[in-house]
């Protein structure tokens, strides 16, 4: 059947390789840059660092790969079940005739999907207790040093610094970080962690960013940032985006400020107000004491009135004193009288004295005369003589005289004659 031959020969014949490479060319040219929307499934990061996953929807599935160098730059952290739009290209693997999507960037598929993901993440972190009210630390009334984690450029840091300057100038440490895009979350988390160990350690942290799209604010929703904020030992104020924006760091922060300027207002009190308050306290202190003193003085006066007139009390005493004083002269009179008696007796005594001594003289004189009358010399006057021996002893008996004894005879004229007995 030549017809059949002809038909057959009309169909070009490929080797397997030719077909496989032809398909590869066709697919890679046709789908050199595409955006695919789907749900991430079976995510696996190989030890090489490449990420393998499936992108699927209700009816179909396509393998996808993200090379190591791209993974770290993804603005979305790939998570199971996450609905994303991947930008990339189709590539085939001729050895197996597989085709796959090479992911070059990834974004969340619409706000709804993003919010759904955030809500799920919030629930997960909340279940861990990271947002517990008990974890919230009170803000210092007046921080000495404030650490600010934000972009060093732009309005945010300027707003914060200006408002601090207006209210209460402080020592501010700015830790510059990227606030959006790849790597931002890591930098923000590292800054929060880094502030914990710095010297001087700030006593308050502000993590801030200006307004932006939901995607722009994503770093502040990342788990790594939320955990860093929750684990911060330093009280932390979050101020991300506008008032209507809520990011997960707001839940972990000790206080959420609606704007960066608002954060500065929460951070420090107004110095001038405090000065006024202190001054007022000083006045109240003074008037309080003054009032107390005057109250006490009034009380004292009232009490002293109750005591009566002290001069009257004194009058009574004075009277008693006068009365007592009146008695005093009488005492003097008594003393005077006694003195007179004494004087009189003294006179008597004095008068008595010569008389007493004269008596004694007379008696001595008399005794002397008596002595004279009885003296042997007076007997000699009457013609008697006194005989003594050689030793002067008086010899009254002639019998006592021995023969040839020397005798001394005394006469009235006191002359002695020596004789010898026979």
């Amino acid at each position: 059947m030549p017809g059949a031959e002809a038909i057959k020969s009309n169909v070009p014949e490929f080797s397997v390789s030719e077909l496989a490479f032809s398909l590869k060319r066709t697919l890679e040219e046709q789908y050199a840059r595409i955006r695919v929307r789907g749900e991430l499934s079976r995510i696996k990061i190989h030890t090489s660092g490449h990420l393998y996953t499936d992108l699927k929807d209700a009816d179909a599935v396509i393998n996808a790969v993200c090379w190591k160098g791209t993974v770290s730059k993804l603005s979305v952290k790939p998570e199971e079940g996450l609905e994303v739009i991947c930008t990339g290209r189709i590539s085939t693997y001729p050895a197996r005739s597989n085709y796959q999507l090479i992911i070059e960037s990834m974004e969340l598929a619409g706000e709804g999907a993003l919010l759904k993901m955030l809500e799920e993440r919030r629930k997960k972190l909340a279940a861990e207790g990271l947002f517990d009210p008990a974890r919230k630390k009170p803000l210092p009334f007046l921080p000495e040093t404030i650490g600010v984690v934000t972009s060093p450029t732009g309005a945010v840091i300027r707003d914060i610094l200006h408002r601090l300057e207006d209210r209460f100038p402080r020592h501010v440490l700015v830790w510059p970080v990227l606030v959006q895009g790849p790597g931002a979350a890591e930098q923000i988390a590292a800054a929060i962690d880094g502030f914990q160990n710095i010297d001087p350690r700030p006593d308050l942290l502000i993590v801030a960013r200006g307004g932006g799209s939901l995607e722009d604010l994503m770093p502040f929703n990342e788990e790594i940032v939320v955990r860093a904020a929750a684990n911060s030992k330093i009280p932390l104020i979050s101020a991300v985006g506008h008032e209507t924006d809520t990011t997960l760091i707001d839940h972990a922060a000790d206080l959420r400020a609606p704007t960066p300027t608002g954060a500065a207002e929460m951070a420090v009190p107004v110095r001038a107000q405090l000065q006024a308050q202190i001054m007022q306290d000083g006045q109240r202190l003074y008037s309080g004491l003054t009032r107390l003193a005057s109250e006490l003085q009034h009380k004292l006066e009232a009490k002293s009135r109750g005591l009566g007139d002290p001069t009257r009390l004194l009058e009574v005493k004075t009277q008693r004193l006068d009365h007592a004083a009146d008695k005093l002269p009488r005492v003097f009179t008594f003393l005077d009288h006694t003195q007179k008696i004494f004087d009189r007796w003294s006179e008597h005594l004095a008068a008595l004295q010569p008389r007493l001594t004269r008596d004694w003289e007379k008696r001595v004189d008399y005794a002397g005369k008596m002595l004279g009358a009885y003296s042997f010399e007076n007997v000699l006057q009457r013609g008697f003589a006194l005989v003594r021996d050689a030793q002067g002893h008086v010899i009254t008996d002639a019998a006592a005289i021995k023969s040839g004894q020397d005798l001394d005879i005394q006469f009235k004229d006191k002359k002695h004659i020596k004789v010898q007995s026979r």
Partner: protein, 81 residues
């Protein structure tokens, strides 16, 4: 009352709180005169301390730089950067 607290170590907030307590106590006038006088003296010292703390307000803005080896250093922050 934290009368034993050394003033120098007190934060502004602590000092202010104690000062206001003393003011209120003194205004009620219930304390004896002698205690009131010592309270007053304490109050004056606290007021002085608070004023010093308020006077110390100076802004100093620094930027943290992370070195290649991870070491941290600070340098003045230029807002016009």
């Amino acid at each position: 009352m934290a009368a034993a607290n050394a003033l120098e170590k007190m934060s502004f907030e602590e000092a202010l709180e104690e000062l206001e307590t003393i003011v209120r106590d003194l205004e009620t006038g219930k304390a004896p005169l002698e205690k009131s006088i010592s309270s007053y003296e304490r109050g004056i010292a606290l007021k002085q301390h608070c004023e010093n703390k308020l006077r110390d307000a100076r802004s100093k803005i620094e930027k943290i730089t992370v070195g290649k080896d991870g070491s941290l250093s600070t340098k003045p922050f230029d807002q016009k950067e």
